[in-house]
Amino acid sequence: MDVRQADLVAEERRMASVHRYAVLDTPPDGAFDRVVALAALVFDVPVATVSIVDSDRIWFKAQHGLPDGIGQVDRDPGLWASAITRDGPYVVPDALLDPRASGNPLVRALGVRFYAAAPIVTADGHRLGTIDIIDVRPRELTAKQRTMLTELAAMVMEQLELRLQTITAVRAERKLRRTAEIEQRRLQTLATTLQRTLVPSALPDVPGLELAALYHTASADLVGGDFYDIFHLADGRWAFFLGDVCGKGAEAAAMTSLVRYTLRAAAHADPDPIGVLQSLNAALLHEYSPAYPFYCTVLFGVLTVSAPGVEPAAVEVTLAGGGHPPALTVRASGTVEQVRPVGGLLVGLMDNPNFATARVRLAPGDGLLLYTDGLTEARTPGGHLFGDERLLDLAATLAGARAPDMADAIMRVLTGFGPGLTDDTAVLALTLPLPSPKVSS
């Protein structure tokens, strides 16, 4: 076939349009089936088709009256392949007498005598295919019937347009949903990453002291704002803190970051735990509007471990609190004491929060436990709270235990709650080990 360059370009554009409507090789569709049935009825013909012309074939989106199994035919000239090249209806009154159609193999194979078609034209002028009526005897098509066939082709085009709009809408929605899911995952990753910066990746080695910490996450989606840290001060003491900011998620994680770095900076600048909490209070009041305050609870302490060789070894702790549950001193004897700095309001709410300190001295075998209220406020599956009393009972069983064993025991309790936990929990345990028994030679 001698095809000019311009025709090739036009055909390329036409095929792009065909692909855009994404109709080739799709399953039967009732709307198009009804159109061909209607065409067969109103034109009183045995065969009617809705065809889409692909680059190398004529594919039937719907057909009425063709022998079973004919879903597509070749692009042989004379019938469909010729109809697609016309702007208006294409009529072959008698194929046997028509020089264009007589050579088409389907004329002989199907006994086609009459063929008429109207192109299915997109709004931008591309012919996707045709609606066709076929008879086994010669016929003429009146001007009115040509108009009717053209109208049917327009109906098919409208149906294709509707179908495309639905596909586009569904695709857009899927894409939107995928984007939202990705965004959600990204936010979770961000919050989780941020949260990892809120606790030290490893605890420092404090000579003479055993340390352990745990962070138990209640929900993988929404990180809580629990935090802790322990670090060396220039004057030889150690500073430590543990707390909980209000809220959950990325906002809480961002605030926790501010709290942690403010406490670290203030601890190096101010030897007094009350002064450190006041610095944090001022920083939070400055950062957040009173119309929507952001607050935290915190225990901040400094400790001094007696010099090596000093007997008996001891740890002196000064603890300041802002609205936080009391720390627990777990004595080697089995006694458990609540260390509760008197006063001390939530940090970040008012100018004069009245912070106070409490002092504790740890002897060998004693431990100090700091925890956030995710532990005591944990709701059991039955709806009961773990509560302070049960925590005191648990702590009593940990008398004389080393810090890592204390943390392990609490972790077992927390995992035992299963999905009943609503809040994250942080625990920091410090123990002064008993002197190792002297080995006699």
Binding site: L222, V245, C246, F294, L349
Partner: protein, 134 residues
């Protein structure tokens, strides 16, 4: 767990300047912001006091408390007080431990809170409300 918090206004004819609301259900980070908006929407321009009856509030997390504090800022700005009543023992313990009792007029019952407001009505709004006020 999907928490739900409900809100029931209990207007008191003798205290037109007071918005009285009973909260029930569970207040947490999933519904706190919505509750704040709903209470602010109920608060009329004339009302400068807020009484929240928490008898049926079975759970309240830190975000819930933050909402009370945010409402308190609005009410203090109008020269009024926020009364919280009928706190569950657990919430009461949290309020004691954190010092939040100093931020609110915490009363044993709603009737107590209303009686105090009748006996000692807070002064009129400390300053005229400007159109720019949120």
């Amino acid at each position: 767990m999907t928490a739900a918090v409900h809100l029931d206004p209990h207007p008191d004819d003798t205290l037109p300047q007071t918005l009285v609301i009973a909260l029930s259900g569970e207040l947490d980070y999933t519904n706190a912001e919505e509750l704040r908006a709903r209470i602010l929407a109920l608060l009329t321009a004339e009302q400068s006091c807020l009484v929240l009856d928490l008898a049926d509030l079975t759970f309240c997390d830190s975000t819930g408390i933050r909402i009370f504090l945010a409402l308190r800022t609005v009410i203090i700005d109008r020269g009024g007080v926020v009364s919280l009543t009928d706190l569950h023992p657990r919430l009461d313990r949290v309020f004691q431990m954190t010092g939040l009792v100093h931020f609110f007029a915490v009363q044993p019952t709603r009737a107590d809170a209303l009686a105090v407001l009748r006996a000692h009505p807070p002064g009129a709004a400390a300053r005229p409300r400007l159109p720019a006020d949120g």
